[in-house]
Amino acid sequence: MQSILASWKNSKWPTHLLIIAGAFIMIYPLFWMISASFKPNTEIFRNTSLIPETFTLENYRYGWKGLSGVTFGHFFLNTFMLVAACIVGNIFSCSMAAYAFARLEFALRRVWFALMLVTMMLPFHVTIIPQYIMFNQLDMINTYWPLILPKYFAAEGFFVFLMVQFIRSIPRELDEAVKIDGGGPFMLYGYLIMPLALPAIITTTIFTFIWTWNDFFAQMLYISELKLYTVSLGLRMFLDAMGQNQWGAMFAMSTLSLIPLFVIFVFFQRYLIEGIATGSLKG
């Protein structure tokens, strides 16, 4: 009897059930969107079930065609390049700044840190105009530079702060090991902090990917040439408040655009599993 009770207590079934129910709530809109992408435009809002009355691939064909000979595939490529450049920028510049804030000592450190936080508190709608003017003077409008450049200068305080917190969670005793071996701050950065802050770096990668991929306003302002369009600009093309909307095509391309996001997320989150197993270090 005791063993049955014990196994009930340790049973993961209730949790498992909850997780599955929750998963359904999370993923329902995805199913809805996918099903809408296979319905003709006129059916999408009439038929609310997940099964299309008329199954069609026309939305995918029309959506992929894009506009004026520039296919959606082109938009995907553009966005991949943009995102890749942003990820690299963020990882390097933010980790460097975070390392400085979290581990190094230098004059005015706290002042700079506070300032960095404060820059995140100003809504971008008011800085966008002067920023636009600035980039216009530099002749960078209608290129990707206004979107990429800030990433190489740790402009996203979110990631700096994130890494700072992760680095501060690394016990200082581990630093000693490197210092005893005669390592200076650069060794410390390269051999200890960076690898151990991997979860933070992975998180940065994932979020930079997703947020840049989904970003709209900045891309809309700075990019006006069709050949340079990104996925989010392309998706907006299908809707027009004043006229017709190509819902089916939009949902079809939205579905496609979620795939890379999903893949990146699933691929990189494996590395989130590895944390500090201090046992392996002691040896």
Binding site: K12, T15, H16, L18, I19, A23, M26, I27, Y28, P29, L30, W32, S93, M96, A97, A100, F101, L104, F106, R109, W112, M116, L117, T119, M121, L122, P123, H125, V126, I128, P130, Q131, M134, P150, F153, V160, L162, Q165, F166, R168, S169, I170, P171, R172, P185, P199, A200, T203, F207, L239, S254, L261, Q269, L272, E274, G275, I276, A277, T278, G279
Partner: protein, 298 residues
């Protein structure tokens, strides 16, 4: 030269070296727009003609006369005070649940992140109407059990709360961060405590929570800062009008309307700086409180 001085100089040099990308960016890329926006806040600026200095008029108008401004601040405060804690509690709970090494963890983790991938997209707007609209799913269920329905998404007294539900539903980002933090907790500590007879609840309170406080703190601060600047959710419910009756008029939405729709960028800039002060104050309070409950291992 004094060896101590050399050391101090060396340390500063290294520090600033690592800090240089950020510092350069601050001076070269960010400083000008930020200072420009401060300047605009003291002007009347319609974007099409040059700014016109008017001193503190914008601030005076805003703080003394602008009913909509006060309302938007209230809406945003409710959103922050309710939305952030609820979302984080949810995110942490799900993270803990997913951390238990159940089978198919990876898939579930990805699935639970899906809502956040949608952001403020059209699909979510449609879905929210289908759920919370006058003839939505929620009302259908309520009527089944005999309760009266209500137009949740279009009534001034409930519209904002549907957006808070939306925020909670999109807990993916803090959840992922919590998961990363949970994985950093050394498993030996759990082993050791189980040998000492500690149950799951105790393990959570004595081991898990204290060790992840730096990340909890991070999430609280970041979610607060971001929630104060919430913008896209308003489009889900009111298509950018802030309705019904300004019940979803987020502060930055009103700011955007003032700036871009009404061509009053100067006023919008002054709104932005007032918001900055509010957020800075709240964040400073959070940082002060951190000394009491955040535990760093360094």
């Amino acid at each position: 030269m004094n060896p101590k001085l050399i050391n101090v100089l060396k340390r500063n040099a290294v520090g600033y070296l690592f800090l240089s990308p950020w510092l350069l960016g601050l001076i070269g890329l960010s400083a000008l727009p930020i200072l420009a926006s401060l300047y605009f806040s003291f002007t009347r600026y319609d974007m099409l003609t040059a700014p016109d200095w008017i001193g503190l008029d914008n601030y005076r108008e805003m703080l003394l006369n602008d009913q909509k401004w006060r309302n938007s601040l209230k809406v945003t405060l409710i959103y922050v005070l309710l939305g952030v804690p609820l979302q984080l509690v949810f995110a942490l709970s799900i993270a803990l649940m997913l951390n238990r090494g159940i089978r198919g963890l990876r898939i579930y983790r990805a699935i639970y992140y899906v809502p956040s991938l949608f952001g403020g997209s059209v699909a979510v707007a449609l879905l929210w109407r289908q759920l919370f609209g006058g003839e939505g799913l929620v009302n259908l269920l309520l009527r089944q059990i005999g309760l009266p329905g209500h137009n949740w998404i279009a009534s001034p007294d409930t519209a904002l709360y549907t957006l808070i539900v939306l925020k909670i539903w999109q807990f993916g980002a803090p959840m992922v961060i919590f998961l990363a933090a949970l994985k950093q907790v050394p498993t030996e500590l759990y082993e050791a405590s189980r040998i000492d007879g500690a149950g799951r609840w105790k393990q959570f309170w004595r081991i898990t929570l204290p060790l992840i406080t730096p990340i909890v703190f991070f999430n609280v601060v970041m979610q607060t800062i971001q929630a104060f600047q919430a913008f896209t959710p308003a489009y889900i419910v009111s298509r950018g009008t802030g309705g019904p009756l300004d019940s979803t008029l987020f502060y930055t939405l009103y700011l955007y309307q003032k700036g871009f729709t009404h061509f009053q960028m100067g006023y919008a800039a002054s709104m932005a700086w007032v918001l900055l002060i509010v957020i800075a104050f709240v964040t400073a309070m959070l940082f002060l409180s951190a000394r009491k409950w955040v535990y760093y291992q360094e």
